[in-house]
Symmetry: C2
């Protein structure tokens, strides 16, 4: 088990001999189990887990394949000395803020800490600067990655078995996982070429209400969604906010890729447009900060009695992980300080890599699948993000991925994993964040061979 999506494996790490001594000697079916799997939490039987397992396992079995599957950030600029530098920068900042009291600084960075986090003020400054989102730092909870932020929010919103989560499908696997773990049913809302089918959204909400359910929130990635790559236009964002108000649900806006857009500006985030406190904003530093820090956050400025929803989430966090490592927060805090709290400034090189890779991928696809000739292969053309979706003229299941890996040495993600129903679709997701242009070129050659053979078969 690794990584953020299950579609995002860490083959090298896991195949490093000292980190993973290889397959454990299988205790085997001859030995009686100590615990009956059917006596454990139901989430352990969910298709989400099977998806994650399968996708990780296959990338371990074919470590030399080129992988369009991993949605991990580009690591070409990773530098361990920078981590030391960020720690020192944050330390010095704190020392100045605390009037030179070194004992207080040590306490803040090394002792148990505030459940809501210690870099909330820097996060608030970043949100104002990069996204035009103006929030009270007290409405922010710093979390162990965005996944914990999501889980805290779902756990808080799930009171009874009637509480449900809406999500635009196809949907990031981690959302289905968090909902399973929170015992919260997931109600799929149809996606569309524009990102979301708003009529279907209303229909799903009304049907759920009629069935006695309470749809509490809609999970949505407005900018370069995973897996679709699609962004919502400005009008759709406004309409979503109106519908949330009208039908009384929250919007859980997840925004890991918004910074990585092309030459055109993105419309404002839902949170920037949110005047009625309808949006809970989920933030990640995995792509813009450093994945190894595992720091994310949630902005939850909704009023609950005399406190904010953020305070309620912090109470849940105090029972779950207590606080987010202040050392890890200091790394991200130091990076924010280094770039004047602008992650746009911090990611100039990375944004260029992703833009270049996207262009290279789209050009390469166009070259290999020219319209009107050969296999009928089409794809969408997001203006940024990490992913595109390919439509192919044959159904794609896990067996086919295995064939592609074994015979063609190229990995990608069958789209059915993002629907959770196991039904093969004529679509695959390609991720381009983690590869070099040369790897993309070789990978596309292999992919084209695979597709042509499939069409001839």
């Amino acid at each position: 088990m690794t990584s953020e999506t299950g579609a995002d494996p860490v083959p090298h790490l896991n195949s490093a001999p000292h980190l993973n001594p290889g397959p454990r000697p299988n205790p085997g079916p001859v030995l009686e189990p100590d615990l009956d799997l059917l006596g454990l939490h139901g989430s352990l039987e969910s298709p989400v887990i099977e998806s994650m397992n399968f996708l990780n396992e296959i990338s371990h079995r074919f470590p030399d394949a080129i992988s369009f599957a991993a949605g991990r950030p580009f690591e070409g600029f990773f530098d361990i000395e920078e981590v030391h530098g960020y720690l020192r920068t944050y330390h010095d900042h704190l020392l100045a803020e605390l009037g030179g009291d070194e004992i207080m600084v040590r306490r803040a960075m090394l002792q148990y800490g505030r459940t809501k986090g210690i870099i909330h003020d820097l996060v608030a400054r970043n949100l104002l600067l990069d996204e035009g989102i103006d929030v009270d730092p007290e409405a922010i909870v710093v979390t162990v990655g965005c996944q914990e932020a999501l889980y805290l929010t779902l756990r808080a919103l799930r009171r009874t078995e009637r509480d449900a989560l809406l999500a635009v499908f196809p949907c990031y696997v981690g959302v289905a996982g968090a909902a399973e773990l929170a015992d919260m049913p997931l109600l799929p809302v149809a996606g569309s070429p524009e990102g979301i089918d708003l009529d279907d959204l209303v229909a799903v909400v009304l049907r759920a209400r009629a069935d006695g359910m309470r749809p509490r929130a809609l999970y949505v990635v407005a900018d370069f969604a995973n897996p679709s790559g699609i962004s919502l236009d400005h009008a759709t964002r406004e309409r979503l906010l109106e519908l949330a108000e009208e039908h009384d649900f929250l919007l859980l806006e997840d925004n890991p890729y918004g910074l990585f857009h092309g030459d055109t500006e993105q419309p404002p985030t839902l949170k920037a447009l949110d005047v009625g406190r309808r949006v809970v904003y989920l933030g990640s530093f995995a792509k813009t900060g450093l994945p190894g820090a595992r720091v994310g956050y949630v902005v939850a400025d909704q009023r609950t009695g005399s406190e904010l929803l953020a305070d309620q989430l912090a109470k849940i966090k105090s029972m779950l992980t207590v606080n987010t490592s202040p050392i890890a927060q200091a790394v991200i805090g130091g990076k924010l300080l280094t770039y004047g709290c602008s992650l746009r400034a911090a990611n100039v090189r990375e944004a260029q890599v992703y833009r270049q890779n996207l262009r290279h991928l789209l050009d390469g696809l166009h070259k290999r699948f020219p319209p009107g000739t050969g296999p009928r292969v089409t794809w969408n053309t997001p203006a940024g993000g990490f992913f595109i979706v390919l439509d192919v003229p044959f159904p794609v299941d896990d067996e086919l991925l295995e064939h592609s890996a074994r015979e063609h040495r190229v990995l990608w993600t069958p789209m059915h994993h993002f629907y959770g129903d196991g039904q093969a679709r004529q679509q695959i997701r390609l991720s381009f964040s983690y590869l070099t242009p040369d790897e993309i070129t070789i990978g596309l050659d292999r992919l084209a061979n695979f597709v042509v053979q499939q069409c001839e078969a």
Copy 2:
């Protein structure tokens, strides 16, 4: 909201102006709430949360009081340069292990990582060395502190509303919190001067079964429990393992304080005695490593089908926090490597501080409350750990703590918080881990004044 027990506040951190801009302007009762608190998860109404809130809040209001309440590790030896050193040590270790491949090292330390963690081999070596616990590193999941380890385990063991957790009472507040959050009822088992009433344990299990419940596991701290300070003797440990086998439940052994014993050796841990894989072992580096790393772990070598329980816990973790910050793990890994994987060796100075503080506290109590004269005050005499319990001749509630804080400038923890029933008891918990001997002396003078006045009142 701060810290691990709620009885363990972080007044200095939270009162630092830049970290906490003071009480947020109260949105106030005149404004309509956006979300009804009664529509949120039930754990948010639990007495556990109220306990944590109250204990934190009071320590913020009386920052100049001497606090016997905080169960935090002594921070006199904290050193930020050491963090840099540990990171370098782990880096060099990894570089050697990976045959000098710097890219692989960067990936391991800075990219998304293995869900079960990257320092599991070092943790296994430490367990063998310090505790005589011999486990397959694959049975270890590195977690975001011990609290996540506990929650993962409870979440896995909770399938239906029939699944319950047993716990020796009085009980660490974080256990009640994790159980609430996992929707798992907590069945109290009576403590005793020897640590646990085994007859009551059997009675509770049989009664629960008769009521249609499934008691899945007993949470137990065998060494210097929080809050009681009591350790189980060898025979009781053996008997517990037999009862777990006989009545088919697991033992969740939490061992944050075992290393800090006096001059006498402790009996082996339950896990070291566990031949039938009945014990899930919860580990913390907060007291022996560095609290600011927020790294803990769980040893779960129970077989579940062809995998281990650890693999199931990792699946849940992949939906909860994805992985534990490898940077934070590297800090702990570097500390382990620095001391040849012995935390005993790493904590020679700390162990001495705690021993000395305990002796100073016991001597001071004896001097101030000599037997046969004055108020009838008694206390237990643990051979180590962080806590002792004082019996006083009057009932102790939160109002009395507030009085003690305001009038006598001394804080401690009313024991009723560890029973969760709000019923005042004639007991208080004193923590001695965080203070200097001089602070203990002053604190005891204040405490004695408070007690004498209470007895005269």
